[in-house]
């Protein structure tokens, strides 16, 4: 699964730590999600999407074959 968190984060001028604080998760989680190492739960995905005021599908997209 791909995601645009890094781009959205840059647009809102947030560091990984800032974003983590706002959502209440660890900085490691944001880093792992951005790198595609970790697929977040629906709960966390919706929280991030709501923060950026985007629909979840715009933030997270399936890759081919998934």
């Amino acid at each position: 699964m791909k995601n645009n968190i890094k781009i959205e984060r840059a647009r809102h001028n947030l560091t990984q730590g800032d974003l983590a604080d706002k959502i209440g998760v660890s900085r490691q989680s944001i880093n792992a999600i951005e790198k595609g190492k970790y697929v977040p739960s629906t709960l966390l995905a919706i929280k991030i999407a709501q923060l950026f005021k985007l629909p979840v599908e715009e933030l997270f997209t399936l890759e081919e074959g998934e």
Binding site: V25, S26, S29, I33, K37, Y38
Partner: protein
């Protein structure tokens, strides 16, 4: 992310202190081959079979034992459990996953190492492996978890 088996984050530092103190004294004791009769006390043994005096053999007997090595072993285990199973500063689903993955990895790795030891190490040296093996699952778990967390 709430889970029912984790202790408060306050236990992390006491855990590290106990674990390090236990490991260092334990290794020193092993390397320097200290007498195991330090802190000799009368203790209750649920079962004892290796006393020279037959009156001290059997179930629920009082025997004399140097309890220093027992104390060290308990320090390592209690310290290890506190370190491994107390909450991180920020506990979330990713940390939870790292912890679970590390536990699985530690058990598998531990038994692979043990299998090699069974095949290639014999006689009394193997007894040392058994002693180490009391602690290695917990230690591998703690090391793996902390490496994964630091790299993430």
């Amino acid at each position: 992310m709430k889970s029912n088996y984790l202790l408060s984050n306050k236990f992390k530092i006491p855990g590290w202190l106990l674990l390090c103190a236990g490991l260092i004294t334990g290794l020193l004791l092993m390397i320097m081959e200290f007498d195991s009769d330090i802190l000799s006390l009368s203790v209750l043994a649920f079962y004892n079979s290796d006393s020279l005096f037959s009156s001290n053999n059997g179930f629920f007997v009082i025997i004399t034992n140097g309890v220093f090595d027992e104390i060290i072993a308990l320090c390592i285990i209690v310290g290890g459990l506190l370190v491994g199973f107390s909450e991180e500063k920020i506990e979330d689903e990713f940390i939870y996953k790292l912890r679970k993955d590390s536990l699985v990895w530690a058990i598998i790795f531990n038994y692979i190492v043990l299998m090699f030891a069974i095949i290639f190490i014999y006689e009394f040296t193997f007894f040392n492996i058994l002693v180490f093996n009391m602690f290695t699952p917990l230690l591998f778990f703690i090391i793996r978890f902390n490496i994964l967390k630091a790299r993430a």
